[in-house]
Symmetry: C2
Subunit: 196 residues, 2 copies
DNA sequence: TCATTATGACTGACCGGTCAGTCATAATGA
DNA sequence: TCATTATGACTGACCGGTCAGTCATAATGA
């Protein structure tokens, strides 16, 4: 069924155009017309593939959430603290490799608030909860093997996730700060901060 | 001159109302009318004290920036790593103590992008640069006293600032995560992550 | 003292521009 | 031919910002 595939391909092209526009002007400053122009189509065509402007943002977020989940589920084997190092580096490098998607996070963060419908798919809280649980799991394993200093608990998982997201934030606000160059330092500090 | 004082008091009252409204609905979702209602005045009155909707956001940011700068300049004495601990805790506790102001940061972060006039006072990049320089200064002092493990450099300052801001971000996105309860853990991880 | 006049803070109706979403029509291609 | 897809002119709700007019209070002066 070439029709259906074609439709998905086109939808994806529009979505990517939207992400570029949102990254450049922010969601609040982006017009449907801008997205259409970026995708070389007419404004009305956008509505053949997406119901509303909001849905474009949701779809962009879903793409990000899917990639996040993929990174988290791809932990490999080895000692827990090595896997933690790998996890932190992968997340940072993935963010740095997709700057436009990362920029859209700025809008997703704020949109959580104004959202009224509870069933919103823009659930950043859920994404971070998943991050923290994954890191906490690794920490518990490391603790069981005696690799951690005493007193390390689940709160440290929040701080590790925070170190990543906080560097992302600084980079988004000030592109002069090179996020990719921080990957090793973040991983190192997170691990040394809990190691026995 | 009671007139002038009265004017400033009233301006401040409107600004605080604006911060509450922005925190609740986000800047993009806040109407001037909402701010006026929150302040128990008419819409037109808002314009007697602020030139535009944007200026309300700028003024809110300036208040935040001023408080930030105050915290950073109040480092006290003692061993550098102790001062670092104190700095991290102060920043986190200050953020946690002013949740409405913190929430407005969500909008300030995104507004950096859509901003066209370069002379914008919403310079979050500048604020973070100041944070990083202050932390880097403490790290250099600690290094000179031999308190750091080898290889610690200015990038570690970015990660420390990141740990704070990243926890703030998780809290803003998911109020179930208690920021105040993380203050000690953040401070501890940041210091243990660089200590010799 | 108290009527008259001046002030300026405040109000809210109004205007003009913007933009999300619609729909009649055209183009496409099977 | 005719079903599917694309177009872009159009609509109307919305909202930032304005401004003519009001009114409480202060100043004046008889």
């Amino acid at each position: 069924m070439p029709k259906r595939i074609d439709r998905l391909v086109r939808r994806e092209a529009i979505l990517e155009a939207a992400v570029r526009v949102f990254a450049r002007k922010g969601f609040a400053g982006s017009r449907i017309e801008d997205v259409a122009t970026e995708a070389n189509i007419a404004k009305g065509t956008v509505y053949l593939y997406f119901d509303s402007r909001e849905e474009l943002l949701s779809a962009a977020f879903e793409g990000y959430a899917a990639r996040s989940a993929a990174v988290l589920s791809d932990l490999g084997a080895g000692p827990p603290l090595e896997r933690l190092t790998w996890l932190v580096r992968s997340v940072v490098e993935t963010l740095a490799a997709h700057p436009d998607h990362a920029r859209v996070l700025l809008d997703v963060w704020s949109s959580a608030r104004s959202r009224t419908d509870a069933a919103s798919p823009l659930d950043m809280a859920q994404v971070y909860r998943h991050y923290r649980e994954t890191v906490a799991g690794l920490l518990r394993q490391a603790g069981a093997e005696g690799d951690l200093r005493p007193g390390v608990d689940d709160r440290h998982a929040a701080v590790i996730v925070g170190a990543i997201e906080g560097c992302l934030l600084q980079w988004l606000v000030d592109p002069a700060l090179p996020l990719a160059g921080l990957a090793d330092t973040i991983a190192e500090m997170c691990v040394e901060g809990v190691r026995a």
